[in-house]
C-alpha cells in the first residue's frame, strides 16, 4: 500500500529540486550527500516549505496540489518531525514538551501511551527537567518522543543523529530500530551516512543535486560505495 506519493518541484537558489517517489510502510531512507536537497524535501512534506509545482498525497489525503491550489498548513498535516537539532521548547519541561502535540490538538490525556513512549525512549527519569539540562542524546530522544506522542500518520527524521558525537549516536539508533519494529508508523529517515541507513532503513531513495538517482532496497547503498 502506498503511504506517501510525492511529485514536487522547487527552485532553491542554484539548486533545482525535482523529485518524484512513492513510499510504502517501514522506514524509507532519503540518502544523499549534503546539499542534495534532503532537508528541503522533508520540509515540503511537513508543510514548512511550499513547492513551486507538483503534489503531495499522504494516506490518500491531498496535502498539497499546486494545480488545485491545495496547501494544507503544517498544523493540520499530523506529520511528526524530528529535527536535526531537536528544537525542544526551552521554556517547557521535558514532560510539557512531550505533551505539547496532544495539548495543541486537543486530544484527551492518555497516560498509558505517554508512559509507554517515555519508557520506550528511556526518558522517564528526565520528565521534570528543562531541555537545557539534557545531554544531546537525551534531547534527541525527547524530540522523538514528542513527535511520536502526537500520533503522527508519518514520522520525518532529518539527520536526527547529526548533532551527536559517536558515542551518543550509538545511544539513539537502538531506540529507532525498536520504534521501527514496534510502532506501525511509517518513517522517512534523512541521512548522508550509509552505515546509519543500513541499520534502520527498509527501503532507500537516493538523492543527489535535487534529483532521485534511484529508489529501491538497501542494495542501493552498496552502489553508493
Amino acid at each position: 500500500m502506498i503511504v506517501l506519493a510525492l511529485e514536487v518541484e522547487k527552485q532553491l537558489g542554484a539548486l533545482r529540486l525535482a523529485v518524484r517517489f512513492q513510499i510504502a510502510g517501514g522506514v524509507t531512507a532519503v540518502f544523499g550527500p549534503s546539499g542534495a536537497g534532503k532537508t528541503s524535501l522533508v520540509n515540503m512534506i511537513a508543510g514548512l516549505l511550499k513547492p513551486d509545482r507538483g503534489s503531495i498525497v499522504l494516506d490518500n489525503t491531498v496535502l498539497f496540489d499546486a494545480t488545485k491550489a491545495i496547501n494544507v498548513p503544517p498544523h493540520r498535516r499530523r506529520i511528526g518531525y524530528v529535527f536535526q537539532e531537536g528544537r525542544l521548547f526551552p521554556h517547557l519541561s521535558v514532560r510539557q514538551n512531550l505533551d505539547y502535540g496532544r495539548r495543541m490538538s486537543g486530544q484527551p490525556r492518555d497516560l498509558t501511551e505517554f508512559e509507554r513512549i517515555a519508557s520506550l525512549l528511556g526518558v522517564t527519569h528526565l520528565l521534570q527537567r528543562r531541555p537545557r539540562m539534557l545531554s544531546g542524546g537525551e534531547r534527541q530522544r525527547v524530540a522523538i518522543g514528542r513527535a511520536l506522542l502526537m500520533q503522527p500518520r508519518l514520522l520525518l527524521l532529518d539527520e536526527p543523529l547529526a548533532s551527536l558525537d559517536a558515542g551518543h549516536k550509538g545511544e539513539i539508533l537502538p531506540y529507532l530500530v525498536r520504534l521501527r519494529d514496534e510502532a506501525a508508523i511509517p518513517m522517512v529517515y534523512v541521512s548522508h551516512i550509509a552505515a546509519e541507513v543500513r541499520q534502520i532503513a527498509t527501503s532507500v531513495v537516493r538523492l543527489d543535486e535535487g534529483r532521485v538517482l534511484a529508489a529501491g532496497g538497501l542494495e542501493l547503498l552498496a552502489e553508493a560505495g
Binding site: 511537513a46 508543510g47 514548512l48 498548513p73 503544517p74 498544523h75 493540520r76 498535516r77 499530523r78 506529520i79 511528526g80 518531525y81 529535527f83 537539532e85 528544537r87 521548547f89 526551552p90 521554556h91 505539547y100 502535540g101 495543541m104 490538538s105 527537567r129 528543562r130 537545557r132 539540562m133 514528542r146 513527535a147 502526537m150
Partner: protein
C-alpha cells in the same frame, strides 16, 4: 517614619493608579506594534518605527500639546471617543494615563521588539508540525519566549509613566486629586513658601517607588530567564 499628609497621599495613590492603567493599556498595543516591527514586512515600517519613538525625542511639552489637540474634547479623536464611548481625557486622570502611556510607549516597545527578533523561528515551525495553529504558536511559544523582554518593557514603561511630568501637565494640567501626580505635586510644593518639607517627602516616595520598580524588574527578569536556562 515618613508621615504623608492626605493631599500627598492622594498624589501618590493617583500616580500609581495612572502609571498602572497607562502600562496595562499600553501593553497589548506594545506587543502588537513590537510584533509588527520585528516580523512585519510592509510599506511604511520605517515611518511606524519613527512614530513609535517620537515621544522619546520630542520635547514632552510638544507631545502634551499634540495630545491636547487630538484628544481634547474638541480634538478629532477626543470628540469621537466622547460621542461614541463617553470617554473624556481632557483635565481628567484618564488623560494623565494617556499621556504617561504615550511617553512610556517607546520604552515598552523596544525590548519587546528585540526579544521577538531574538526568538528562534524554527521553534515556531516545530510547534506548527506538532499541531499548533498560528494563534496557539503565538501564545504557547512566541509570547513565553519573549517574556523577559516583555517584563523589561513593562517595568520601563511603568517607571516612565510614574515620573511623567511635561506631557501630562501640558495636556491635563495640574489639578489636585485629579491630575496632580507626584511629580506635579513636587513642582507645586516648590512654588509655594514652606512647601520644601512636603516636596522632600514626595521626593523620598518617588525614589522608593522607582527603586522598587527597578528591583522588581531585575528579579522578574531573572526569574523569567531562569525558566529557560535553569532547572
Amino acid at each position: 517614619m515618613l508621615e504623608l499628609s492626605p493631599a500627598e497621599w492622594t498624589a501618590v495613590e493617583l500616580s500609581l493608579r495612572i502609571a498602572l492603567v497607562a502600562t496595562a493599556w499600553a501593553l497589548p498595543f506594545g506587543i502588537a506594534i513590537g510584533w509588527l516591527l520585528a516580523r512585519g514586512k510592509f510599506w511604511g515600517k520605517t515611518v511606524l518605527d519613527g512614530l513609535v519613538h517620537l515621544p522619546l525625542v520630542l520635547p514632552p511639552v510638544v507631545t502634551g500639546y499634540l495630545l491636547l489637540m487630538w484628544f481634547g474634547r474638541k480634538g478629532a479623536v477626543g470628540a469621537f471617543l466622547y460621542d461614541h464611548f463617553g470617554v473624556v481625557f481632557a483635565f481628567r486622570w484618564t488623560g494623565a494615563a494617556l499621556a504617561s502611556g504615550v511617553m512610556g510607549f517607546p520604552l515598552l516597545v523596544r525590548p519587546i521588539r528585540l526579544a521577538l527578533e531574538a526568538i528562534d523561528r524554527r521553534l515556531e515551525d516545530a510547534a506548527a508540525t506538532l499541531g499548533a495553529n498560528p494563534a496557539l504558536v503565538f501564545f504557547t511559544v512566541t509570547l513565553p519566549l519573549a517574556l523577559p523582554g516583555i517584563v523589561a518593557g513593562v517595568l520601563l514603561c511603568f517607571a516612565r509613566a510614574l515620573g511623567e511630568f511635561g506631557a501630562t501637565i501640558t495636556f491635563v494640567s495640574n489639578i489636585p486629586g485629579e491630575t496632580q501626580t507626584i511629580s506635579a505635586a513636587i513642582y507645586t510644593f516648590l512654588q509655594i513658601p514652606d512647601g520644601d518639607a512636603a516636596a522632600g517627602r514626595l521626593v523620598v516616595v518617588a525614589i522608593v517607588l522607582s527603586l522598587t520598580a527597578l528591583i522588581a524588574a531585575e528579579w522578574l527578569g531573572r526569574r523569567a530567564s531562569a525558566r529557560f536556562h535553569g532547572e
